[in-house]
């Protein structure tokens, strides 16, 4: 087992030392960890299965090494490094640790060879990433983080339920392709799928993403944008390639995300919807399921990691310096932070699929895959999304973030400046990779699961892309006035649990528990106490009761008398015991007894 070092475990274990280090040593140590993990990835042997352990009689496989997992591992390690650089200025051990745990657990999930190991890392991912949201310390961070965590735990439970169904029937935890008629049947299939889809942020299970990511810490969001959804894509490729429902879902995702981006005001929320939209491409590609499509899916995941990371870093830098994330309050700051703007625009071009940028290659692969499979609607709708992507990021976001004349927020304008160097360096690294993948697609292709000799730079493809971009820009220019941001928020499917959750708690608190307390009060207090009171002097109590009753039914003439009598009776209650139950009554009882006995005996 020593022949391989698990990159994820390197990161997880590597965190232990962080609190004990200081200053420059700590910083270099933090950057060293992803590099070591990267090296470990490099020295992995594809096609081997290592780190197999026995747990509760189950076989846990921590290291399933093949081209797919290695590719994801590369991307994750590099992005972790970039993210590390980006957060270097930060003096918050816990965020660093959480970030590394998050990255490490994602890598763990990537190398997981069985479902239980996958689930294990899945949960660590949820918790460590939630920390990054809590650490945002915005007004709604903790609440959004809690929602995020709960949703993810729910997703994890779907996954767990599916795994259980699968396991109970096959007594195997093998993590390979699932089919509806495999072990556990359609139930297991769909449960696991739902678990994965939730992490992939497929509507209507996507609201957690746009809810929580904008609330994450500035550096944390970079990690958030990278790992959860891409890991989900990885497991979808593993488990569900060719599941046709994913094509539909993918297309819905892309459009859904895009529609929201157009009306969104919060820059990071806008980018979050873009994640949904972009992941939609990958999901659709997984659904198409051909080798080429899978390659496209993986490729888009890798390019996405970097350009989306870059965009989040750019937006983060803006928020970091200006303190606001609302488009309505920003604009015009390109003069103050030109380097940031340039780097950001690299990301925007990449996501929009400009030729020579990474997005161009990967998006072309996915649309191409649909194209080859003669999927007309898929092709058209994915292309439409590409249009929307450029519209909202390359044009709308960039314009409102940086270029639009700023008359609304002098303070933001005043505060704007270049972010710390480490941020810029990190962005530059990501930008370099965005361009590298675009200019030299072979670098990207070498990370893909299947060998490919695809050439995206055919004449017709380039012109078609340019046409789309150009005419989008034209349309944007024409309707520019309609696209001004508004101080609004867009409700999403999280409305259901945000609104009903509160009502649920209210319902429990108010009617349910009150009734419960009432019943408990009656049973445990009122009844025993009443009984005790009554038994002090049953006859007297009976008298009081009878008088009260006759008071209720009698006419007004007797009332005064009765009232005073009750008052008197109550005043002396329970009274002197020896006088109750006079002898006479006992004698009567004796007589009754005798009579009864005789009657019973003789009759």
């Amino acid at each position: 087992m020593t022949e391989w070092a698990h990159p994820g475990v390197i990161m997880l274990v590597g965190t232990i030392l962080i609190p004990f280090l200081k200053g420059g040593v700590k910083k270099s140590y933090m950057l060293l960890i992803p590099l070591v993990a990267l090296a470990a990835t490099y020295y992995s042997t594809p096609g081997t299965t290592v780190w197999v352990y026995d747990y509760m009689g189950l076989k846990l496989v921590f290291g399933r090494i093949d081209a797919l997992s290695i590719g994801f591992s590369y991307a994750f390690c590099i992005m972790t490094f970039i993210g590390g650089v980006y957060s270097l200025h930060l003096d918050d051990d816990r965020q660093h640790i959480a970030g590394l745990l998050y990255a490490g657990s994602s890598l763990g999930a990537v190398f997981a060879g069985d479902l239980l190991t996958l689930f294990l890392f899945w949960e660590i991912m949820a918790f460590s990433s939630a920390y990054l949201i809590f650490a945002g310390k915005f007004k709604n961070s903790t609440k959004a983080g809690t929602r995020y965590l709960l949703v993810h735990i729910a997703g994890g439970l779907f996954l767990l339920a599916g795994i259980l169904m699968y396991y109970a029937e096959s007594h195997s935890l093998a993590f390979n392709g699932f089919t509806p008629d495999g072990p556990g049947g359609a139930t297991a299939f769909y449960l696991i799928l739902i678990g994965f889809l939730l992490n992939a942020a497929v509507p209507p299970l996507s609201a957690w993403l746009s809810d929580a990511y904008p609330e994450g810490s500035i550096t944390g969001s970079v990690f958030l944008a990278t790992f959860t959804t891409k890991t989900a894509i990885y497991v979808l490729i593993r488990g569900f390639s060719g599941a046709e429902i994913l094509i539909v879902l993918g297309i819905i995702m892309t459009l859904y995300g895009i529609l929201y981006t157009i009306i969104e005001n919060d820059c990071r929320r806008l980018l979050s919807y873009h994640i949904i939209s972009q992941v939609g491409y990958m999901v659709a590609a997984v659904g198409i399921g051909t080798e080429f499509a899978i390659n496209g899916s993986a490729a888009h995941a890798f390019t996405n990691i970097f350009f989306k990371g870059l965009l989040f870093m750019g937006a983060g830098a803006v928020i970091y310096v200006t303190g606001t994330r609302k488009l309505t309050e920003l604009g015009g700051i390109y003069k103050k932070m030109p380097k940031t703007v340039v780097l950001f625009m690299v990301g925007a071009f990449a996501i929009s699929g400009f030729p020579l940028f990474s997005g161009f290659v990967s998006k072309a692969m996915i649309i191409g895959a649909a194209h080859y499979e003669h999927m007309a609607w898929t092709t058209m709708l994915l292309s439409l999304t590409a249009v929307g992507t450029f519209l909202s990021v390359g044009l709308k976001l960039a314009y409102h973030l940086f270029f639009r004349p700023n008359e609304h927020n002098e303070l933001a304008m005043h505060k704007a400046k270049e972010p710390p160097t480490n941020m810029l360096v990190a962005m530059a690294m990501a930008a370099v990779i965005c361009i590298l993948f675009g200019v030299y697609p072979k670098a990207l292709f070498s990370m893909l699961p299947f060998p490919t000799d695809y050439n995206p730079y055919t004449m017709d493809h380039v012109t078609a892309s340019l046409l789309m971009l150009g005419f989008t820009a034209l349309a944007f220019y024409i309707v520019l006035g309609k696209l001004n941001p508004h101080k609004t928020l867009s409700i999403d499917t999280d409305w259901f649990y945000r609104k009903t959750g509160g009502m649920f708690i209210y319902f429990i608190n108010s009617p349910l528990l009150k009734i419960g307390d009432l019943i408990a009060g009656v049973v445990f207090t009122a009844v025993p106490n009443g009984l005790i009171y009554f038994m002090r002097n049953p006859l007297g109590a009976f008298k009081i009761g009878a008088d009260t009753f006759s008071l209720a039914i009698s006419g007004s003439d007797r009332r005064v008398k009765l009232r005073s009598r009750i008052k008197r009776e109550k005043a002396i209650y329970p009274g002197d015991n020896i006088k109750h139950w006079p002898i006479g009554s006992t004698v009567v009882w004796v007589a009754v007894f005798l009579l009864a006995c005789l009657l019973i005996y003789f009759v």
Binding site: I258, L259, Y260, I262, I263, H371, Y372, H374, A376, T379, M380, S383, L384, V387, G388, L391, Y399, F403, R404, T458, M459, D460, H461, V462, T463, A464, S465, L466, L467, M468, L469, G470, F471, T472, A473, L474, A475, F476, Y477, V479, L480, K482, L483, H486, K487, T488, L489, S490, I491, R498
Partner: protein, 73 residues
Amino acid sequence: MKLSRKVKTIFFIILGLIVIADYFAPRGYPIFPWDTIPAFWGAFAFVGCLLLIGISKFLGYKLKVMKKEDFYD
């Protein structure tokens, strides 16, 4: 946004050039009928763009997806 006439001119020239280039570009792997239509993707993008904006505005205003910022508070 006010763009200067010069910028606009350059922009339209570039657009025109791309359309022309597209007209001459060899179609590598045509499958659908529209694959061979010149500048099809330009028109597609223009219409699609307006369509997306229209739909999203419809969603935002008519379907009340956009709410005041203190909606959840």
